[in-house]
Amino acid sequence: MVYDKRFDGRKFDQLREVDAKIGVIPNATGSAMFRIGKTIAIAAVYAPKPLFPQFLQNDERGVLKCEYNMVAFSGSGERVRPGPSRRSKELSLVIEKALMPVLDLKEYANCAVDVNIELVQTDAGTRCAGICAASLALADAGISMSDLISAVAVGRIEDKIVLDVNKEEEDYEKGMADIAVAYSLRLDKITLLQADGELTKEQLKRVIEMAKFGCNKIREVQIKALKDKFMVK
């Protein structure tokens, strides 16, 4: 079979509908909602927060603590059992690493900068949506940043490179690779890269190009959301 038409009719380099909103959790220092297709992530930053146990503290800069969590009813099949899993712990870690390169946490010495990410509804691309929401929440919290981070999942299905895979594509059984990429346009650096599946080197190059293209589109939506909140009209 040749994958020449996407299941949902999108073009190969077309994102699903993207939407972002700043300031959705009044209690938090900063917060944001990020939606891509049917995947919805909400992120809230609480900072500065006391950091224990004490040996984790750093007297030169704050410590970024991200937590990725799928709410129990957000899975596409059975209920997700509440509580940390190996998957959610790994994703929390890679999200931290994806955000760190643009953050300057000098002002938060000895404290934690807590980033809590909840997935309310999922249709693939959840870590990337989480990163986009977290990046906006950090900006909303007024934390020094050299850029926003945007992220998107790119897929290889048969011989096609497709932007922003949904669940139906992720579950494609014959010849699928799924690559999550986070990117800062200003630094021109990739800050998250995870691939599941077989790729040629040539395909990887095309994947990165496609991811950068998608991230830059997402970045426009992120910037618009920030302007909607902060720019004087």
Partner: protein
């Protein structure tokens, strides 16, 4: 600091006012949104009461009945007080606060037989529907009890059963059949007692100084279906009956928000 806030609050209560200018028996603005996780959950809803926001989702699964109730399905209510909703919470296993909240929401629904448990039985003694009600406060600005109870009811009403094919659930296929719900909705209202004043819908700031708390579930006909007292101070019979009367009046109001 804490004492001066307390003094200020009690002064306001004397004038019949909440800290935000409402009357003591007045709710903040309430809104309900249905289907907020329609792709993933079988039913879902968001309730906002002022700045307090709670989302609830319903998932269905198959299970075995309890040996003492072989022909009844079951409900499982769970609350996670995630650190996203307040400075107060850390991640970790559910603490006593979240367990009490779950059990209070559970009690009103269960004891009113709002779900027809018998109709949730597929094969007596073997296979039943289990209805998971998962509560997630997103922003805690007080009165999580009423917001969670209302959101749980709304999410149950929003639920569509998934298809059952050869004894296995196909989550991708939703039927147009809802849960077996009764017409009589068990609506809960929480009244708090503070320095001798009866108060509705406290904010987090006000919740610090609560003496007693009473959550009461009412049926349409004015009968009580569940009660839970919280707080460190006792109540006299006279106080209790006054609270019951006020709570009933407020549940009539709350009922109007549910579709």
């Amino acid at each position: 600091m804490k004492n001066s806030i307390k003094e200020h609050l009690f002064n306001l209560y004397g004038k019949g006012m909440h800290i935000d200018g409402r009357r003591l028996d007045e709710y903040r603005e309430i809104s309900i949104e249905y289907g907020i996780s329609a792709k993933s959950a079988e039913g879902s809803a968001r309730v906002k009461i002022g700045k307090t926001e709670v989302i609830v989702g319903i998932k269905l699964d198959l299970g075995e009945p309890f040996p003492d109730r072989p022909n009844e399905g079951s409900i499982i209510v769970n609350t996670e007080l995630r650190p996203i909703c307040s400075w107060k919470y850390e991640s970790g296993p559910p603490g006593t606060d979240s367990i009490e909240l779950s059990r209070v929401v559970d009690r009103a629904i269960r004891e009113a037989h709002y779900l027809d448990f018998k109709k949730l039985c597929i094969t007596p003694g073997e296979k039943i529907w289990m209805v998971f009600i998962d509560i997630y406060p997103l922003n805690d600005d007080g009165n999580l009890f009423d917001a969670s109870a209302l959101a749980a009811l709304a999410a149950l009403m929003d639920t569509k059963m998934p298809a059952l094919i050869d004894g296995v659930i196909d989550y991708k296929q939703k039927t147009d059949k809802g849960l077996p719900l009764k017409k009589d909705i068990p609506v809960s209202c929480t009244i708090v007692y503070c320095d001798g004043y009866m108060i509705i819908d406290p904010t987090t700031e006000e919740e610090q100084f609560i003496d007693a708390r009473l959550t009461i579930g009412f049926l349409d006909n004015g009968n009580i279906c569940a009660l839970q007292k919280g707080g460190d101070v006792g109540l006299s019979e006279e106080e209790l009956m006054k609270i019951v009367e006020l709570a009933e009046r407020k549940t009539i109001e709350l009922r109007k928000y549910l579709k």
